[in-house]
Amino acid sequence: MKKFFMYLTLAAGALIMLYPLLWLIGGSFKSNEEIYSSVWFMPGRFDFSVYVNAWKTVTPFSMGHYFLNAFSIILPKIFFTLISSVLTAYGFARFDFPGRKFFFALLMGAMFMPAIVTVMPLYLMWGSIGALDSYVPLTVPSLFAVEGTFVFMLIQFFRGIPREFDEAARIDGCNTLQALFYVIIPCTRPVLVSISVFTFLWTMNDFLTPLIMISSVEKYPLSLLLRLSADSTGDGYELCKLLAMSVLGLLPSITVFAIAQKKFVGGITAGGLSG
């Protein structure tokens, strides 16, 4: 009996959590009148022409163009983040050097630095070297281990790998970097996957940085395209098209989440990472 109530509570909670998403998908097939008159998410009929329209977007470019934009920001960013975070974490986890404690404190401190304080000077800095309205401000910082969370997570993980592993590699003639690539990294694969997934999702969600750094419609990432579409939606506009565009805009994140789902909810989040 107690169990029954527990399941009932959880099911009700899950329904509240997921219903807005169902409503969004259903709403993309509904007329305005239908949206505003019924709470049930299922549309009366499925007419996919709204998606054909949404794919065309409100700009001269198609949705495909914006998917490509998103990926050309995300892929370098993932690559850069992995390299720089792994090197930095390796240094902290395995080596002793002057100022080690001090730099570790900086790493932790930087995690608590509010982005809103640094974003304007960075805007001016990128402007002064003519890098605004390009993907440089969005991707290049990742080369420098700016995500302390990831570095911290990797340090924790590296410490769990027995030192004997890399010592053995050294005896076999590996140098510092070879020990990292042939011994440590192969053990770290699950963490690297979750870092990539989080970088993907956070980049898809990022709004403030592209809003400030990117100005031409052609280069917009998905988030700015959605903002543009929402802004050009006046009264009396068919809401379904905007909702359909939102669904399309969520597709990459949903796909990645679905693929990585097991890792997310399983043990890998142990590093203390969160959306």
């Binding site: 959880l10 807005p20 709470v39 240094g91 050097f97 002057p98 800095m125 999702l201 969160s274």
Partner: protein, 293 residues
């Protein structure tokens, strides 16, 4: 003075580690330290970029717009953060039981936090709260008269609070991981001693989670005080500035009015506010965290 010895593998010098973390040192200097200091100095310039001393900071402290934005941000943070912690902790406790289907529920509660800050969701949220939107329709179904969400300055903030509350999954995951580390024997021993589950929650779970609760409290406070994108997209700061957070004020000053100096002075003031809030949290929870150590 005793010379420090460095414990490194054979054949590794004391600078190898420094080389490895050099990307971080460079990145910290350029992307954190430099903007942080430069923001403070920029705060001392006027709209033409001429140095004016601390006048912007004095303006910020005395201006009505900053005071109002700071109040909105405080109100938002004070309502959102406790709610989010309570909901995420209780859900985590419910989900931590060994029972069928927990994995599915975990995913369901987690998804909104993954997608929640995506602009698509923010746009959707905007329409949930219109006069005839889903929320009001549901209220009508259960016999409550619909609420004017956007028209009333007391309600508009709740649209954003509810959006961020809906994303409690990230805090929940941190709690879930910590709950898993509490040895099951504690609960078994308590049960033998005749302790009910509510009592066990207060006497075992809460004290064991002390550090994680504090971590979540700090993380959520920092991110709540920076809130920008939801009010920007959903309410535009209105009605009557009731959702104009400090984050919005910074953006408006910089990109709407082009006043770099003032915007930076505001953002530095926000940094001071956030630091003060975190220090305050350390202070007021200090006793609680140190107990039974």
């Amino acid at each position: 003075m005793k010379k420090r010895t460095f414990h490194n593998p054979v054949g590794v010098g004391k600078f190898t580690g420094l080389w490895l973390i050099s990307p971080f040192i460079l990145g910290f200097s350029v992307f954190t330290l430099y903007p942080f200091l430069s923001s403070f100095l920029l705060g001392m310039t006027d709209i033409h970029g001429d140095f004016t001393g601390p006048s912007n900071y004095i303006d910020v402290l005395t201006s009505r717009s900053f005071r109002s934005a700071a109040m909105v941000t405080m109100r938002y943070t004070l309502i959102l953060v406790p709610l989010k912690l309570i909901v995420s902790l209780l859900t985590a406790v419910l989900l931590n039981q060994r029972a069928k289907g927990m994995g599915l529920f975990r995913t369901a509660f987690y998804i909104p936090s993954i997608l929640g800050s995506n602009l698509a969701i923010v746009i959707m949220w905007q329409f949930l709260f219109t006069t005839d939107g889903l929320v009001n329709q549901c209220l009508r179904l259960i016999g409550i008269s619909p609420v004017s969400w956007y028209g009333d300055s007391g309600n508009a903030l709740f649209i954003i609070i509810l959006l961020r509350l809906w994303e409690f999954g990230s805090a929940m995951v941190i709690f879930l991981n910590a709950l898993r580390d509490i040895p099951a024997e504690y609960y078994e021993a308590a049960k033998v001693d005749g302790c009910g589950s509510v009592r066990a929650f207060f006497s075992i779970t809460l004290p064991m989670l002390r550090d994680v609760i504090f971590l979540n409290l700090v993380l959520q406070t920092i991110s709540a005080m920076q809130e920008f994108s939801a009010p920007y997209m959903i309410t535009g700061g209105g009605p009557m500035g009731s959702t104009e957070t400090v984050g919005m004020l910074i953006y408006d000053e910089m990109f709407r009015y082009g006043d770099t100096g003032y915007a930076n002075a505001v953002s530095w003031s926000l940094f001071v506010l956030i630091t003060a809030a975190v220090l305050l949290l350390f202070k007021i929870t200090g006793k609680l965290r140190e107990e039974n150590r």
